[in-house]
């Protein structure tokens, strides 16, 4: 990471349950509030981490009690950095259908990965596709 110093860093290995995922997300959201994040920026981070967490737990680890998700969150002066690594087989995020296409528009799934991309400043997946790294730079007008 190029950013020299973070104000808040959380690293945690959590079981593959939505409850555990949401407890960890709440730690991030509390810290963001502490560090003055609110409004749209806060919402965007909340949305991206919710989607990424649910994907890691459900699609990645398939809620297996034998698997865990490695969580790494960092809050800096004007940005937040988030990384989730699951123990699943991964996927190819570039091969997903576009949920905004007319033919997919009324499908009851397939919007999470796209929302993460739209709401974050940068998003990267590792080669295998079991690790997502998200970075959000705070907007100046918020």
């Amino acid at each position: 990471m190029s950013e020299p110093q973070w104000n808040w860093v959380l690293e945690e290995s959590i079981p593959s349950s939505l409850d555990a995922g949401h407890r960890t997300i709440d730690q991030l959201l509390n810290a963001l509030t502490q560090w003055g994040w609110d409004g749209r920026d806060f919402f965007h981070v909340q949305m991206a981490i919710e989607e990424a967490m649910v994907n890691a737990i459900k699609h990645g680890n398939k809620e297996s009690p034998d698997k865990s998700v490695a969580v790494s969150f960092r809050i800096g002066g004007n940005s937040v950095w988030m990384q989730l690594t699951d123990q699943g087989d991964g996927f190819n995020p570039n091969a997903l259908p576009d949920p905004t296409d007319e033919e997919h528009l009324d499908q009851p799934h397939g919007r999470g990965v796209m929302l993460i991309r739209e709401l974050m400043t940068t998003v990267a997946y590792n080669e295998r596709g079991n690790q997502v790294t998200m970075h959000k730079v705070r907007s100046s007008d918020d």
Partner: protein, 119 residues
């Protein structure tokens, strides 16, 4: 239905206005309950005109959007109509990004929403 209620339904004329108990609608056991309760409004109670009022809802994830799409299908299958209102700007943005603002009819206020049924 067992457990806590996730929605509250009140009839205003022929329109059933649905409000949400949770301020955050995320993927969890609660969202399944919420889905079942919403579906029963159109399937069991056979309400034809349903207006979802999101006043007080601060966050909803794509899992919630998925439930709304299924609800819309069920409403249409039952010959009914579904509309949305009271979305805060951040949530409205999610509908715009996903283009779901073209799937759902979204009104600003509850009054606008009720009127839009043209009853």
């Amino acid at each position: 239905m067992a457990g806590k209620r996730r929605i509250v339904v009140s009839d205003i004329g022929e329109v059933s206005v649905v409000r949400f108990i949770d301020r955050k609608i995320v993927d969890s056991a609660n969202i399944e309950e919420m889905g079942e309760e919403l579906f029963s409004v159109v399937e069991k109670d056979k309400r034809r005109f349903v207006l979802l009022n999101f006043d007080g809802v601060e966050f909803l994830s794509s899992a919630a959007l998925n439930k709304l799409i299924l609800l819309d299908r069920k409403a249409k299958a039952a010959g009914g109509k579904l509309k949305l209102c009271g979305l805060r700007p951040e949530i409205m943005e999610v509908f715009t990004i996903t283009r779901l603002d073209r799937v759902f009819q979204i009104k600003k206020t509850e009054a606008d929403g009720i009127e839009a049924f043209g009853l």
